[in-house]
C-alpha cells in the first residue's frame, strides 16, 4: 500500500495542526489573573483633570509635590509649568521652571500679556502612546488613566516620541518610560493627585466625571474650556480654562 503525500498537503496539515495548537495555547482566553483585592471598582469612575490657567501663580508647588510623591528622578518631569510672555510686538517668549529649584526668575521682557500654563499628561481617550507600544506596556485603565507597566516596558522610547504633548520620558534611573499617573495610588484611595492637593490657588482641579455633582463635572458643564492640540485627534481628558491661542 503506497500513498504519496504531496508537499502541499503536508504543509496544509502542518499549518492546520500548528494553528490548532496555537489557538489552544494562545492568549485568546488566558487564565484569569488575581482578582482585585481592594473594593475599588474602576468601572464606577471616570477621572478627568481641569487646569484653570487664570488662577496659576507659577509657584511650581505642583512640581515639587509630584517629585516628592512619585519619587521622580532629577532632571525629568511628570508635570511642569510653562510661562508665556507676549511682548508689545506680539513676539511670544516661552520658558519653564525646569531647574530643580522650580522657581521662575524675573525677566526684562516688556510684556503686553503674560501667564502660566501648567502641563501634564492629558490622559487621552485615544492615546497615541498606547498604540505604538510594541510590548503592551502602555495602557489606559477603565477609569481613564494612561499608565506604564514597569514589568513590561523595554525602554524603546517609541511612546516618548509618539506623545504630541511631550508628557513621557525615559527615566534615567530605571531606563523605562515614565509619565504622570494622575497619582493612581492616591486617586484610587480617594485622595487627590499630589499636584492638585498642593496647589495653593486651586488652579488644578481633579475629579470624577461619573459624579454629576463633582466640581469638575460642574465646571465642564458650565464653563468654556479647550484642550491642547485638538487637531491631533487624541481626545485629551485634560481640559484648560482661559487658555490663550498661543498655547493651543
Amino acid at each position: 500500500m503506497t500513498r504519496n503525500i504531496s508537499r502541499r498537503d503536508a504543509l496544509k496539515v502542518l499549518g492546520a495542526g500548528s494553528g490548532l495548537l496555537l489557538v489552544h495555547c494562545g492568549p485568546i482566553k488566558p487564565p484569569q489573573g488575581e482578582k482585585e483585592k481592594s473594593d475599588y471598582d474602576w468601572e464606577k469612575h471616570s477621572y478627568a483633570y481641569v487646569v484653570d490657567t487664570t488662577r496659576c501663580i507659577g509657584c511650581c508647588a505642583c512640581m515639587r509635590a509630584c517629585r516628592a510623591e512619585n519619587d521622580v528622578p532629577p532632571g525629568v518631569f511628570r508635570t511642569w509649568v510653562e510661562r508665556y510672555e507676549v511682548d508689545e510686538a506680539g513676539e511670544v517668549r516661552v520658558d519653564a521652571a525646569t531647574h530643580d529649584d522650580f522657581v521662575f526668575g524675573t525677566t526684562d521682557t516688556k510684556v503686553s500679556k503674560a501667564f502660566f500654563v501648567p502641563k501634564l499628561c492629558n490622559h487621552c481617550k485615544k492615546s497615541v502612546c498606547n498604540q505604538v507600544c510594541p510590548v503592551g506596556a502602555a495602557y489606559r485603565t477603565k477609569d481613564g488613566v494612561v499608565l506604564v507597566d514597569h514589568d513590561r516596558c523595554i525602554g524603546c522610547g517609541y511612546c516618548v516620541q509618539a506623545c504630541p504633548y511631550g508628557s513621557r520620558f525615559i527615566s534615567p534611573r530605571t531606563h523605562m518610560a515614565e509619565k504622570c499617573t494622575l497619582c493612581y495610588h492616591r486617586i484610587t484611595r480617594g485622595e487627590k493627585p499630589a499636584c492638585v492637593a498642593s496647589c495653593p490657588k486651586g488652579a488644578r482641579i481633579f475629579g470624577d466625571l461619573r459624579d454629576p455633582q463633582s466640581e469638575i463635572s460642574v465646571i465642564l458643564k458650565q464653563q468654556r474650556f479647550r484642550v491642547l492640540k485638538p487637531e491631533m485627534g487624541t481626545q485629551p481628558n485634560c481640559y484648560y480654562l482661559g487658555l490663550d491661542r498661543e498655547v493651543v
Partner: protein, 304 residues
Amino acid sequence: MSKYRHAVSVFVVLGVVVIAAAIARNLAIPDTFGEFGHYRGAAPAQAREFPLRHVGADVCADCHDKQKSLHDKDAHSRVPCETCHGPGAEHVKAEGDAPMRRPTAKSDCLVCHQRLAARPGSFPQIDADVHFAFVGVKDPSTPCVSCHDPHEPLYMDRDVRTARLHPAIHRCRDCHQGTMAEGTVKPERHPVTFECNYCHPAIVADFAKRTHAHVACTTCHLYFRESEYAGRIIRDADPRFCLLCHRAAPFRSANAPKTIDWPSHRDKVASGPTDAKKGCVDCHRDRIHTVGTPVRGAVKGAQL
C-alpha cells in the same frame, strides 16, 4: 514504511518547532495579559500599591490643631500645609520624630510672592528691594518671617465673606445719572479700572494731607478680587496690622517708619482699664484720615 521516512522526519521536526514556539510564547506572555485589554491585567492593581507620601491637612491637624485653626482663618487658608512643609508621611510614621521642612528664608516666600508679569494681578506680590525700602529694612537678607507670620500673614481676623463687597469695574450708571443719549460712545481714555478717588474724593484728599500719604489705599484696605467685576475689601484696624511696619526691630534702618515697642507702648500711655484694650487707630486716627467723610462722592463731571 521506509518510503514515508522523509515525511515523518519533517513532521517530527515541525511538530517540535511548533510546540517549542507555543511554549515560548506562553512563557513570554504574562498570565493576566489581555484580561481587560492589550496589557497585563494585574498591572493597574500593582500601580495602586505605591505608598502615599502626602497625608493632607486633616492628618496634620490631628496634632497641630492650633496652627491649623490659626492658618485656616487667614489669607493662607487655601495653602495646604505640605505645600510649604513638604510631604508628611514619614513624619506621621515616625510619630513626629522625622523633621518636617520649616522654610524661613526670604526665597521660600518669594517662590509665590516675587513680582512676575505672568502672575495674576490680583495675587499679592512684591519686589523685595522696593518693599524693604518702603518699610525701612536695611539688611536685604532679612527674612519675611521677621514680620509676617506665615500662618497668619495678614492678621486678617475677619472672615473674608463678611468683608465688604466692592466693585472693581463700574457700570456707566454708577457714575452717570440719567438715561444714555442716543449716539453715546465710550469716551476716549475712559478708565476701565477705576481708582479710589473717583468715588471717594473726600477721603483721598483728606488722606493726602496726613503722614501716611505715601501709603497706597490698598495697603491697609486689603482687596481680594473675586471676579471681573467685584472683590472684597477689608479694613484692617487690628494693631498687629500697624505693627507690620511700626514694630521696633534691629533690622530697621534709620529712615524706617517710626517704630514702637508693643504692647509696652500702650501700657505706658494707658490711664484706665478701657485704655488697655485700645488699638493704634483709637489714638492715632489723625495719622490716617478722619472718619465721617462722605463715603461716596459724586464723580466730577459725570454727566452724559
